[in-house]
Symmetry: D2
Subunit: 463 residues, 4 copies
């Protein structure tokens, strides 16, 4: 034990000297090490388990060290571990076909799949498709949206902090308020707002003076609208059911494409293969990544409607990346597609999600002076930590609970345990819960108990 | 066999329907499938071996299915296959330290390492570092240079084709002629040019009217110069020894950073860990990827001088990527670092490269009406296919040889064999050879024999 | 008469062949010629007078062929008609001082004046001041705002039509709804809206996710807000009294500059030297032009607070234009400043404007099925032509009335007369009235009579 | 006298307080006042004449206070001094026709004229034409070129100083070395260079890797090349006769437009109506201003080929400016066109220019240690002040001579006189001479005498 602590101290010393701190590791001080992962749990150097409610921001939805998916990786490793992406291999082709077929049935449109690595690079590819098809560069995106951290992805991600030190962003999106009803951007009440937010968006096309539309030419200055149907980093915010159908109609009437970013919510996080399916909308382009390989490989990709991506308009050489359809990633992803063909993840995530949400609602009722809002769609759940008024964001308490969870000394029926949470939301006061799909009802109960312990420990005066 | 051919036909049918053709697969018609990879060879569905002289554009320099590196992957897979990048794990820390220590000794400067996935995203991170440090956006880059295909990377990659259909590139680099002496951009002779190209570059800072420099303010409009010390996609072009020292002096005098893109040439491809070491120059930022994991994971990264990347100037949250320091990639990369610490790859690649180059020079002497230029640095070698005059680029012949190599019916001492080549260069007439570091002298001889067969077969009238 | 008609036909033929139609002449078909101008009237080839209610979009506010100002031009013409702008002449210095002194007293801040030609170029100079002072490029501007037609001015002018065919505008403003209460962008009622539009604007700074503000750094992505206190081309829209004070507070708290575009409303059009004075707000930069020379010279200029424009921060050579402080323009402008020092134009325009507005309100009461809104501030008045419901914009009728006014056959107490109107507004259904300051009550009455004739002639079914 | 000096001191005090110093007035300390202008002379407060060899940078080529042109201004002032530009007046139509007809005969192409005010705004209009016609934004321009100081004009003007403090210029031109043979950018000798500079430019289209051209698509990334046939601010640099024909051929082959900026050199400054005529080249767009009104009004304009500017492609509303075709400016400009139709300015400027150049060459022979180069085309002449080696630019001496000329105490055959020079050139060591076209041989002799006095006074050690 002392040894392991000593090793970790030495590692921290090295890290302080040689590692960039520019990523998100140092949001926690000191940073946290983990040594092992399995199922729903991470383990620290002392073997303490941490129930994980974030699963690598939904990248490892099928469970850490999922045997079947790990085996798929090893299988490919032993056969064709490397291959230049200009040559074909079976899994790549079958993977594209599996996704293409599903989307054809879901969206009633033929299309094609293009692979890359990392969600941001798939976003970049989608931007190329959009620009190529429309001849335009400007896009809409949502306030609270997150699409990655390459420069072009940062230009369409609302947070100004991501751009501030990096010069002028010539392609900065126009950001539109998301229907975040708990904190309505227009201070309306969900019950009687009449979709005021949609009306406001549509108003932008009233006259040329609104700046977006030339009625004479029947043309918009904007090529596409980038959407996360359920916001990820924005705090797992779930829109009202009618929002996206209304939005799509407005966009269609103005010949503006809808690009559906499913990087975080795709692969059943929100109860459907693609979260947009919850709203009965057929996007023009879908971007995906993360859980595609259960986190074993950064493979990502886009699906686009045939007319946007056919070889005629998006010919050989249009884009490229060394690792774009790497054999290891495609092999794992193909196994994921087999898995989701075999098991009814729609039912699984919907049922477990409903149970989890019910428990969270009960928790909220017990702690109305701590929890302002809970909501969920599938196994994407949110718990918003607020002040005693149930509305004012309480970021400080959120941070304390997050850190306490990582302390590893909660009581899981007599056993020491930690809780791994993820903090998101406009006010950084929201726990965005993305448990593994194999989580059991008992583990959900345990999770809620541990959350309660965190509340009692961190906000004793409000319980 | 019939079965395997039928399976491939079915795959091709699927591919035609569901796969984007936007990458480089369809440069060849029909595309080529491979099923297995090991050592220096790829194998097709019939088990025919293809001697590989491109090793995934130098991503698999340590050999396909390298046992030791594959084992490192499996080891991590069984222990900690997934972990959100906001938490630490041992290999990540040790990998950064290993690179940081080496660079400190090589460049005499402390610095830090930042990880990401895919070379382009590392380039994006370097652009952030540059913009943050200088407050400027514009950069120089080389004609013939290649830095990736995200939008920002395409803006600094010379080929207009990569930008043409994607709108306006507000950050387009100013592209400077590379010292490609076989085809001197200034029509000079290497022997007596007096480094005219460097003089021309320096002239740009003579007066404010040259457009780059404000003598009154002592400030350049340009923040950095992105260089590949040996051009990759540009055709493995090797500059004269004095070029980069001269360039660095000019840049230093104008406070312009040098960003060294080692994505393709790093990890001993050109005889040194970093190809820039061949020229005795210390860059301000180094970008690397590809061979870092021997192609088993898209891990990439940058190293930057402490003053550019210290937590003071590049604080937590500056950039991020879900898979940026993924556990599988860092575990393999750490094993690569162990490997290169144990074996003297500098000697290996230099010695084998010299032998290979000698054989290629002999080949050129035998076929002066086909080969215009051969050159090499370490195991980065080039063969430029030209017309009978030994200078006019012959792209058609290059393409025929490339396709014939993939036919798989060359004669390797009685055994059928293919040859996998990569075509690059300004005129697409250059074979850029990047053999595995474990290639033997016998295999080098075999490679040259196979090249000769290709020449005899594809240009019978010129032999 | 026949001769003059023949001459005009010949001119029209020439015009069709050799003139660009890219300006606004061909909005009317056939275009209209005028031959003489004096006082409140333009005269066509047959000597028919046209009462002018637009006075060159407020450029000739002091009356056509104003004797005193014309004499000032001739005086300079005989003395110093030309001089390179790098040398000084008396009138330039005195003009800058006159404006600087007035603004110091009005805004309680020292500042300086910089001249140029054409309103757009003054806007360009103001953009230089803003960028230089803030290190930022992005600005806010109003929907319905108009700041000129250079590329940079078009980027901050809302109408997309002005940008559509001219490529990507990397510096496109973010456009904010103007408080146009007759057609509230938020569908609120003026009486009880609680300045909802201001609240909405302020909300943009709530969190970093709104895209405009980094709370950690206390910094906005936006450098300035360009405002027309009373919109010009937008339709002489007059905001509620409390809007601008509230806006300025929000901007001050976020260190965002306010640039006040007075090109059309300056020089007493809206009852004060600067229209912003109506709202008790001190802008950081004022841009002016048009009436500065009563239309005799395109002289324009900006005034900026000392800390933004002092020689320390805006040193020699910062900008330049051959004609920037031309002797003819400055001589006339100086005479304008003398004129406004001598006569109480604040009282004149306020009093006459009130009378005119009263008559227009009476007209509206007589024709509620034609006029939807009338409003005015000083001698900037608006008449919005609507459908029978008094709200739906009726652009077709507006166009008919406009054209009929130019027919020259209205009845001015027995004499043939025309009426020159200007059409503006988001829906192109607004007559923006800018009569000469010397207009008499009798002429105002005549104007209203002529308007009534136009209504009766063009909308006989609605009177 | 004392009074006038006191008045000037008071004006200087005012100027220090209320005037922006951001223009070029304060290049001289203290700034210089003038009170009267006539013919070839400016007069200071004491009545001392200054022979003017710069004529407002060629804006007043027809002489200060030219009676005929002044009368044209007064005529229009008394008739139609103001008129909104959306209405027509005779002079505007006739002016466009006069220019259109001349260009049709000169360039063998029908076209149209579009007016604006200020050279920069005409440049902006030309950029709109270029972008509209090509769908592209990027342009080439020359190192040493000057096209104005709006943001877009600064983006295509080489001097970085004009951009440095104003943010990121997303449309920055690619700047190409001008054939400035006295200081050849490639260090070649005019006699045997074989137009190396043209070859270098053409090389840029060799392969896609040069960054400008996609051979597959047959398309350039660049839409146009902005040229001053004789550089103005760049130092009245005259290219070899064959340069522009060669350049036009290269551009035509790549479908790149040539925009000919004649703002400074147009109207016979360089011996022809347009300086490009000297080289037998037909540009696609011509931009003009300055001498168009002899400096009496900032009227400017462009002429473009019919297919680029016809109402079909550049319809009503494409651009606009309040003063764009103002009546005063067009009246004067029309009179200028009459003047040049009546008098043979081609012969006048060519003959006088030849005489002036001969005298300057003699001067150079007398002072080889002061004058490095003299050259001239028409009445655009250059004298490059160098060190004793006849080549090293001597800016300090140039400045001293400039200032001494403004001292007003040179000896003009017994009478006190000043000499007004303009300094330009890449090294700010060139007197760019633009005398009035009415200058006599006696005045040319006087000018050379005064220059000699300046040399003797400011460089006594080198005479």
């Amino acid at each position: 034990m002392t040894d392991s602590r000593g090793r970790e101290a030495e590692l921290l010393r090295l890290e302080r000297q040689y590692s960039s701190w520019g990523d998100t590791v140092h949001y926690l001080d000191p940073p946290k090490f983990f040594e092992r992962a399995e199922g729903n749990y991470l383990y620290d150097r002392e073997g303490t388990p941490y129930l994980d409610l974030q699963m690598w921001y939904s990248a490892a939805s099928f469970g850490y060290a999922n045997r079947r998916l790990n085996d798929a990786l090893v299988g490919q490793l032993n056969r064709l571990p490397q291959l230049a992406s200009q040559y074909l291999h079976r899994e790549r082709v079958e993977l594209a076909a599996a996704i293409g077929r599903l989307n054809a049935s879901k969206f009633g449109a033929e299309g094609r799949v293009h692979f890359n690595v990392g969600g941001s690079q798939a976003i970049e590819d989608s931007l190329k498709i959009v620009r190529n098809a429309t001849g335009k560069t400007l896009v809409f995106a949502f306030m609270g949206g997150y699409h990655g951290r390459t420069l072009a992805a940062s230009a369409i991600t609302s947070s100004y902090r991501y751009r501030r030190r990096y010069g002028h962003f010539a392609d900065r999106a126009h950001f539109v308020p998301f229907p975040y009803c708990f904190r309505c951007p227009y201070d309306k009440k969900k019950e009687d707002c009449g979709m005021y937010c949609l009306q406001q968006f549509e108003k932008n096309f009233d006259t040329e003076y609104n700046s977006f539309w030339d009625p004479k030419a029947g043309e918009s200055e904007f090529a596409a609208f980038y959407v996360e149907p359920v916001q990820g980093t924005g705090g797992y915010v779930i829109p009202p059911r009618d929002y996206f159908p209304g939005l799509k109609r407005i966009l269609d009437e103005r010949h503006i494409l809808m690009v559906d970013d499913e990087i975080q919510m795709g692969f059943f996080r929100a109860g459907k293969l693609w979260s947009i399916e919850n709203f009965g909308v057929s996007p023009d382009i879908v971007v995906f990544g993360k859980a595609l390989t259960n986190g074993l490989n950064p493979l990502s990709g886009i699906w686009a409607r045939e007319d946007l991506i056919s070889p005629d308009v998006f010919p050989p050489g249009s884009t490229h990346s060394t690792f774009s359809s790497n054999t290891l990633g495609t092999a794992v992803a193909l196994e994921v597609m087999h898995l989701v063909a075999e098991r009814d993840y729609e039912a699984i995530t919907t049922q477990k999600g409903a149970y989890f949400l019910t428990q969270l609602q009960a928790l909220q009722r017990r702690f109305p002076r701590v929890i302002g809002d809970v909501d969920g769609l599938g196994l994407a759940l949110r718990v918003e930590i607020c002040g005693p008024d149930g509305h004012t964001p309480d970021r400080a308490l959120t941070d304390r609970m997050f850190a306490a969870g990582l302390g590893g000394d909660l009581d899981a029926h007599g056993r020491s345990m930690g809780l791994v949470l993820d903090v998101g939301g406009y006010h950084k006061n929201t726990f965005t819960l993305a448990p593994a799909f194999d989580i059991t009802h008992e583990e959900i109960d345990l999770a809620v108990e541990l959350l309660e312990q965190l509340i009692r420990r961190c906000a004793p005066d409000r319980v």
